[in-house]
Each structure stands twice: as C-alpha cells, then as structure tokens.
Homo-oligomer: 260 residues x 2
DNA sequence: CGTGTTATTGACCAACATCAAACTTAGTGG
DNA sequence: CCACTAAGTTTGATGTTGGTCAATAACACG
C-alpha cells in the first residue's frame, strides 16, 4: 500500500488534525523512539489476552480491533487506519479487552510506553491531543453501537460505507468516485453483526438500487447523497476530520454533468 | 436515592478507584468549583445538539447516554452511575454525539471546563486519571457493541444484568442477592437494541429458567454462576472496579446452605 | 492447471418485530 | 378510601428480517 514516508511525520500530521500541537509537543513527538513492525495480512499485532508493552501507531494498512463472542463468533469493534493509535489505553491500563489485527498487509510503529509517558510529561498538551484520539475513537464506537442496535442490515452497510469512505478520504486513500475497501464479506459481516450470506444479499440490493457499483473490493458511488440517506448517515460525529477542509462529496462527475 | 455526602469526596473516591492520585491531584480535585444541579426523572442534562460548557460529575441517580436513530428509534449508549463523568470529552471537543439524561431523579455536579483544565495543569496526573475514565468507558462501549452485534436477546439481557450488577455493586447500590434496576422494559429495549415486547418475553424466560426473580424492578439472582454463563459474561473488561476487592458473587446463602 | 479462499444462490427456518388489545400498577384528586 | 388516569407490563396473532445449511460458481495464486 501507501508506503508512508516517515512515522514521526505521520504522527505529527495526525496530531495537527485533532488540534494545534505546541512546538514542544511536536518536538517531543519527533523524538519518540519507534520500532517499525511489519504485519502480514490477517495477523494480529496484539492478542486479546496479550499485554503489549508498547503503543502502536498504525503506519500502513487496514487494521481492526476485534473480539470473540461465545467462543466462535467474531465481532469487529473498530477500523483503524494510518495515524491511529488503537491501544493507547495500554499506557494506563494493563488489561486489554480486544485483539488488534491487520486485514491487509501493513505496518505499525511500536512506541515504548515509558518513552511516550516521558514525552507527555515534557509536553502536557501532547497528552491532551492523544486524549482526543480516545474521544474520537469512542464517538465512532458509539455510532457503531447505535447502528448495530437500531438500523436494518441495508442501512448498516450503507452507513459503514459512508463512515469508512469519509475516514479514508481524509487520508487520501480514496478517489472521488469511490474507494477500495479491503474487506471480505465475512469481515464486513463481523463488523456489522450480520451473517455473510445476508451481507452478500444486502450488497446486491445496494447495487440493484444503484447506490454502489462494485468491482471486486472497489466500490464506486453513483449518488453520495442517496447513499447517505440510505445509511441514515450524519458524519458530524467524525470530529477528527473536521479540522481538514470538510470533505463533502458531490455525486460523481458524470451524473452531475447529465443534470446540468 | 442515596444522598451523597460530598461531591468532592465522591470524585476523590472515584479517582482512587482508577489509580492512586497524587496528593496534588487530590488537593486539586477538592478545590474544584462545583454547581449542583438536580435532575428530574426522564430529563436530559445535555441535549444531543447542546454544547454544555461544563463537565458533569454524576452525584446521584441512574443516567444514560442516548441518541435517536432514524428519527424515531432510540439507542441507549451507556449507563452512568454516581462518580462517572460522561461528558469529559467536552473538555476537548465542542461537538457532542449523544444526549445525557437521567432515568431516575438524580443530581450532577457541574464543573466549569476552565477550572478542570487548570486543575489538570497543576496536577498532570489528574489528567491521566480522567483519561482512564475515558478508557474504562470505551471498554464498556465495546462490550455493548459485541453484545448487540453477536449475542441473542437472551444472552444480551443476562449480560447486561451481570455488568450492571457488578458496577452497581462496586458502589454499594445492591445487596448480595440482587439489585434494584430502575429501568422500564422500554428502556432496557433501547439499551439492548430490542423491542419492548421481546424484552418482556426474554425476561419471562429468564424467570422461568430460574435465573432471576423479579419483584417490580428489583431483580434477585438465584444462581450468579449460571447467570454469567447465560450471558456469556466475563467481567474482566470492567477494570475500573478492579482496584477494589474483587466482588465475586456466590450463589445466595440459602442455596449454598442447602448444598452443604 | 489444481487448490484454497471468497462470492453467490436456493431452500428453509428461527429470532425477533409489529400490531393491537388487555391487564397491572402506581399515582392523583375527590 | 375510592374512582380515575397514565404509564408500564403482558399476551396473542401474525409478519419480516436475517440466520443456517449446503451447494455451486468465480477468483487468485503458485
């Protein structure tokens, strides 16, 4: 995938996205020791029981938090993209309630807890910015909970597409007319709390309705507005993205030209 | 309800539960300005669109975060009990993605953001401890997501009972054989992503199985072990409780006496 | 080309939702 | 203390969404 230039620069960019870091914070972030770890597709960085001594900064690839329920069923709890730090909690809490895995090939930077803590000590606002990561993360979890709790399969899939598209778009991982979502239907099912079969049929329905056009795992959007409506999507909970120019996706060029 | 002696003492106790606060942190916590607000049952403290200028410390009562989905359906996102601070995020993020409401009569202490920020500046570890609140909170959200995504109605209800009982027990809001859960079945349904009717039937099933004995909103447990199993409940994600002596509930006395 | 993973289909079924009505309970005012 | 009321709980009948099982088709990769 997108081979990231420099882990420290990625972190700095992400910090700037959630709020202006002080000079000290930026300097501290740049001095953090990082060990890069390459992760093969479908492998876990942290197991559910493992107590990782380091905090992960995702550099590259598509990661998920996931957990097993009742021994045989999986629930994917969140998606994580480059710049995310999905196990910040290990800085303060030894227990982990989820596994962190890569769906695609990817890489993470491992930052020793002690070093990160020291950096926060020297630049207190760095702690605040990382705390914001946690809030942004929690807001997305709540959105997923509301979706799984109260939306139909059809709405859920559409909602997930909207959310994930917005997040990936903010990172330049999409084009304007669609995106490559590197998830199998089984993985979609595990994220949405549905069965594979039903995800398959729901995708077909979305295609028949003309809301998405899929080629393999690339999904093109024909009408963003309608997709939003179908998913009952309101992206205002994605505050992490709001410091960037608001990515408002218009219907793709061809359609709009027909209109005018 | 349980008229809490002193808001500052409640906060201090809660801080001690997540980790030993420094003397400075305790001192700062004790000096925080707090304005007590009484909340009538079924009233919101913060609306979904409202931008509250203060952070809430729950003093008394049973609160929920909730949100409307698709205009007419409600999803309850979390439960909040005395000592919780459910809108800490407002310290860093102006947007709110949920409403905060009381189910019972209750009260909250409102802490001005500026004061809380100042306290954190003076006692950096106070920020860390509050950050831990956020982590504990997020872990519970993930557990709910997994439950709603992958468990049957029967399991979900049992799981929620286990979790909520454990949390309330740590605050001394239960007795050993059961607890008073001040939720209507409609509210349970909104928390679990089910319909009222189905919640009602599921409760009946739990009663027939002999797992709970309800009198109004008091629910007695006859066999904690079996209830845990029914709900596929493993409480290790409730780390906020772990600094206290681990509350391990044995089957109620009568039953155990019969055995021996 | 095989071989394993992923996607798709059909038939069937279970869990849960919806609708509508009756019943209980807890308050409230007379 | 007794209606009266509103909220909450319970029930039955019925419909729908989404799950399960099992087989086949389409790919992807060595």
């Amino acid at each position: 995938m997108n081979q990231t230039a420099d882990p420290h620069e990625l972190l700095a960019t992400r910090l700037r996205a959630v709020g202006p870091p002080s000079g000290t914070a930026e300097a501290q972030a740049h001095q953090l020791p990082m060990r890069v770890l390459h992760v093969p597709p479908r492998h876990d960085v942290v197991r559910e029981d493992g107590r990782l001594k380091e905090c992960c900064l995702i550099l590259d690839g598509f990661f998920v938090r996931h957990t097993m329920v009742g021994g045989d069923q999986r629930q994917i709890l969140s998606f994580h993209l480059p710049g995310d730090m999905p196990n910040l909690h290990s800085l303060h809490i030894p227990e982990t309630d989820f596994a962190l895995g890569a769906l695609t090939a990817g890489s993470v930077a491992l930052i020793p807890q002690a070093a990160l803590r020291a950096a926060i000590d020297k630049a207190p606002d760095l702690g605040d910015l990382l705390w914001r990561f946690t809030f942004a993360d929690a807001a997305i979890s709540r959105a997923w909970l509301a979706s799984v709790g109260r939306r139909s399969a059809y709405q859920r899939v559409a909602h997930l597409f909207c959310e994930t598209f917005m997040r990936m778009r903010a990172l330049g991982l999409t084009d304007e007319a669609g995106f490559m979502l590197p998830l199998t239907q089984t993985e979609l099912a595990d994220a949405l709390g549905l069965s594979v079969v039903h995800v398959n049929r729901t995708l077909q329905q979305l295609r028949h309705e003309g809301l998405i056009v899929s080629r393999g795992r690339y999904h093109g959007f024909t009408d963003w507005r309608r997709l939003q409506e179908a998913g009952d999507f309101d992206g205002s909970y994605l505050f992490q993205l709001e410091n960037r120019p608001l990515p408002f996706v218009e219907p793709p060029v061809r359609l709009r030209e027909q209109v005018s």
